[in-house]
């Protein structure tokens, strides 16, 4: 099984690397790059909601903070593209830490409501603070990737590879996290905070770590978004984005490692082919969300691995029975 997994992953990475060659259409490259950016954001949500069990409804807000931080740093200061690129996620994480310190003292439902309000406050601030963010008019003129010496990076293909590169690293970090003692600790907290505490786990520290990580991911995604789209408006912190991210995660599989990728790519590309759905996609997303969470809470990925596990278990039972007969 492990051998299979390695092969599958390598195959998909190769596919991703060859995508611009297979599909030299710049529109498709655009959609795929955007998908990668969403995937990074969804991984962030997965860490705090999927692995730690705390549904942060402020996630889109932090995405926007990352995007606006980058946008403002590059358009209103002289610090340059790359310093801004590094600073913006750090700023996002710093704000995330402050909010995490306060919001994580609340439990369960209060946390969801609290973060929902925080998200709304972020939206209001971006929308109303026109002198800083440009309000409804938005922030324009964000620079694209600067040239690395003689290599021009502003072509869609280079941008695609850049985003892919960052995304693969972020996924790798998530992979390392989930398979480590730290990941197991988060899952223990999700399972039962009381039990985790009785096992000597500092739930406060770990929850904060998880939240900080999620905002870091959101910040990175936001930064990439800003340098990719190069124009920002308050709607990127709206509940629309929040629920989009949530849908990608739930459909793909919350609390799974490949869920964010599966869910995001599946929905983004299906929405593309079903363009007429755009305005009414919630008619499908809504029930999808509800049905999946009831009947297959671990999403598509969970469903498929459930199938594999059942097959393995049935094989074991059959083997035992064969042994008994002999």
């Amino acid at each position: 099984m492990l051998m299979n997994k390695r092969i599958i992953i390598t195959f998909f990475i190769l596919l991703a690397l060859l995508f611009p060659i297979i599909m030299p259409n710049s529109y498709y490259l655009y959609i795929m790059s955007l998908s990668f950016i969403w995937i990074i954001a969804v991984y962030g949500l997965n860490i705090v909601a999927g692995y730690t069990g705390y549904l942060s409804l402020a996630h889109a807000g932090f995405f926007a903070i990352g995007a606006y931080a980058f946008g403002l740093l590059t358009t209103k200061t002289e610090i340059g593209f790359w310093p801004a690129f590094i600073l913006a996620p750090i700023i996002t994480t710093a704000i995330g830490t402050l909010i995490g310190l306060v919001s994580l003292r609340t439990k369960e439902h209060f946390f969801a409501i609290y973060t929902l309000c925080v998200g709304y406050i972020i939206y209001l601030v971006i929308d109303k603070w026109e002198s800083l963010t440009g309000g409804v008019r938005g922030l324009i003129g964000i620079p694209a990737l600067p040239d690395l010496g003689p290599i021009s990076l502003s072509a869609p293909t280079s941008q695609y590879y850049f985003v892919l590169f960052i995304m693969l690293w972020m996924v790798f970090i998530a992979y390392r996290l989930v398979h480590s003692l730290v990941g197991r600790t988060l899952i223990a907290i999700r399972n039962s905070e009381t039990l985790a505490l009785s096992l000597g786990i500092s739930t406060t520290k770990n929850k904060l770590l998880s939240f900080m990580l999620s905002t870091f991911y959101a910040g990175v995604a936001g930064t990439l978004y800003a340098s990719f789209i190069r124009f920002l408006g308050p709607e990127i912190s709206s509940t629309t984005i929040m629920f989009d991210l949530l849908t990608y995660l739930i459909v793909g599989g919350i609390g799974t490692l490949s869920g964010p990728i599966v869910g995001t790519l599946l929905i983004v590309w299906t929405s593309q082919t079903l363009q007429f759905l755009q305005d009414y996609r919630m008619l499908i997303f809504g029930p999808l969300l509800t049905l999946i969470i009831i009947y297959s809470p671990r999403g598509i990925v969970g469903f498929i691995s459930g199938l594999f596990r059942n097959r393995k278990a049935r094989k074991k039972v059959a083997a035992v029975q064969v042994e008994k007969q002999v």
């Binding site: 549904l55 609340t106 439902h109 209060f110 929902l116 109303k128 949530l246 969300l289």
Partner: protein, 281 residues
Amino acid sequence: MFNGLTIGSIYSLVALGLTLVYGILHIPNFAHGALYMVGGYITLSAMTYLGIHYVLAIFISLLVVGILSVLMDRLVFHPLRESPPIQHKVAAIGMLLFLEAFAQMLWGADYRQMSTPFDDVINVFGLTVTLQRIIIVITAVTVMILLTIFLRKTFIGASIIAMAQNREGASLVGINTNQVTMLTFFIAGALAAIGSSLTAPINLVFPSMGHLVILKAFVIIILGGMGSVPGAILGGYILGFTESIGATYISNDYKDLIAFILLVIILTVKPQGIFSRGEQS
């Protein structure tokens, strides 16, 4: 100032429904805002497409939304009763998104007017108010009184309170928890529909009309105590007055922030909410 009374009445009605459901299920129904919105649209449709009188239309609306609310419980919350709470939240969000998109598809995204037979302007204590606002307050208060009597004096009402305090104990005593739950959802939906229909002639009907109200309802029940009926009523009026004062003296644009800032302050200082029930065994 009278505005505070009006706004507070609506907030209280919506918060009441939310707190009742939270009381027995310990789930915040994120889809409550959708029920509110559907309530407004049903009343509007009954009036414009079926020519029904405003008051009768409200009755129809509260019935329909009440049933819709019960369906929500049976089809979604009931199957999830043993599942981790995050699933309840996600499921509710799914329903919310669907209902809003559905409303938009059926009725369009425009802001619609609702007419009312109570649009006369009258003079009360030197203040000029529309009759509608008075009706809102009177209706809301009447409903709340009826509800309180129902909860205190009838057996079913007492069952709701019993279940809110101890669900297992209540079923051991022979209370049919499923029926009581359904009734509670019905009441909650009906309250939302009434609130929405009362305020619609003033605040118009549109697909996202539930958003702000529901966020504020959450703030109210956290402030007043999740599951507390008097808390929801009191909290609703307090917020209504605070907002109306804020709108007059600070800024109309930022008055919505008041509720959220209040929430952020309260939960920052007291993460369990103001009236936490302490540790429950």
